[in-house]
Symmetry: C2
Subunit: 243 residues, 2 copies
DNA sequence: CGCCAGCTTGAATCTACTCAAATCTTGTGG
DNA sequence: CCACAAGATTTGAGTAGATTCAAGCTGGCG
């Protein structure tokens, strides 16, 4: 896995992604700049948020992949949601975190600016929250009503759609910096079966992957085939107008 | 199914439930009283919220069961979450609803007072939102990592824990006003298999049910056996102090 | 009484899991 | 540069769990 350098590459991508959700005003840009200056790396397996513990400091993810996870007593693990660059963690400071979040790969994070810093920032946060909710819903449908093959395709399409606006995916191509075991924990499957489904998709010509580089040969067509409603709407809040 | 009479029985239960989440102040009680006066019935299968359509009016559920649902193209259906008395729907007026919500049984709803009506009401809404998120997480873990038997038990325990503070469950006993097919749609199983799992639980002495009346013989013990972390914390927000 | 929806049960099938082993990768040290 | 170790991916065979299809049963209601 490529080590994360806090060199600002993630930062500029993340700002661009946030700006796409809602146009940023000067206050927002300033607050973000100040926060970005305090970026720091996070080691894999380190906890970003601990379920039940008060949130010390809300975080903005700049680089790397994390996951919100929950464990059962016997060791089974379920990933509720991947945490990707541009995502927010622990939106309510002081409140108890509703879930544990860990770094899966090396990550880079910074403190999330207060949502009160600017009206635009508040709108961005609302949009991020709405998207997060939508992804939780999508995860439920995947786990509840899709076959293993459909789950794999659907998750990869979702990851593509989430990474693309952050500048981390293009032309159906992106890096999946996690093991098939991690994907399995998100998909409610075993790693062995995830592997078989990936082989199947590869043989069907739907995708190719070598190492950690994945390519969806035709995301739009795949999405239609998988019965995916068009990519999530980018704008959530009403009355935006611009753009 | 018992027809819903808009007689205020649901209303008082719901106010009590909300008050348990956060003490109500006078402003909140007044706003609620005004809203409750505008209670109205909703027929089964009627949509309370339509995915993608703007929310006309945020709703407070007073009686009956609903569900947030999503459909796949081929007719498969997944219930994301049950909507029970005391729940809120369409928290963001004007915004697009992120999901479709339907009445499963006859319901009674009223407009949800503006969250700006009082600080206490705002806190209550935040607590309700936090609980909702927690239930989404629980649903994901059920669908992703639990066996059919565990899923059934876990969902019934969750329903008990949600209905109890609303005064709709006592001593492990409550009414499940939906068919096994509806439970199956929430559990990611077939109705046939849900039935088998219920039979098994009944034979194991964990519960009894006849018609729509369900009794969990020992919810606490069942929860422990099912590896359920203690019932969800009631208070979410920090710095509450009172009570 | 008969109908209909929902519940119950059985048998066959299929999906995904388990267990096990082989292969491939990547990083490390000689 | 090669050998090796550790982790990850790949493949196979057998099994368990959930589905499908089908039929019988039950209870409420016209």
């Amino acid at each position: 896995v490529t080590p994360i350098r806090c060199d600002g590459a993630g930062a500029s991508r993340v700002v661009a992604r946030l700006a796409r959700l809602h146009p940023l005003d000067d206050g927002a840009r300033e607050a973000l700049a100040a926060a970005l200056a305090r970026a720091r790396p996070v080691q894999p397996r380190r906890e970003l948020l601990q379920e039940g513990a008060p949130v010390r400091e809300p975080l903005l993810v700049l680089d790397g992949w994390g996951a919100k996870v929950r464990h059962l007593l016997d060791g089974r693990r379920q990933i509720l949601q991947f945490v990707l660059p541009g995502d927010l963690l622990g939106r309510e400071p002081k409140a108890q975190a509703p879930v544990t979040a860990i770094a899966v790969t090396p990550m880079e994070v910074c403190p999330a600016p207060e949502r009160t810093a600017s009206p635009a920032l508040d709108a961005v946060y609302a949009a991020v929250a709405a998207l997060e909710e939508a992804y939780l819903h999508a995860q439920i449908v995947r786990l509840g009503r899709m076959s293993a093959h459909e789950r794999v395709i659907d998750l990869l399409l979702e990851l593509y759609e989430r990474l693309e606006p952050a500048g981390l995916a293009q032309d159906g191509r992106f890096t999946v910096p996690v093991t098939q075991e991690v994907l399995a924990d998100a998909l409610g499957l075993t790693a062995v079966h995830v592997n078989r489904m990936l082989q199947r998709a590869r043989r069907a010509g739907d995708l190719s992957f070598s190492g950690r580089e994945l390519m969806l040969h035709d995301p739009a067509a795949l999405g239609r085939k998988a019965g995916r409603p068009r990519p999530w709407p980018r704008r959530i809040a009403a009355g935006d107008g611009s753009g």
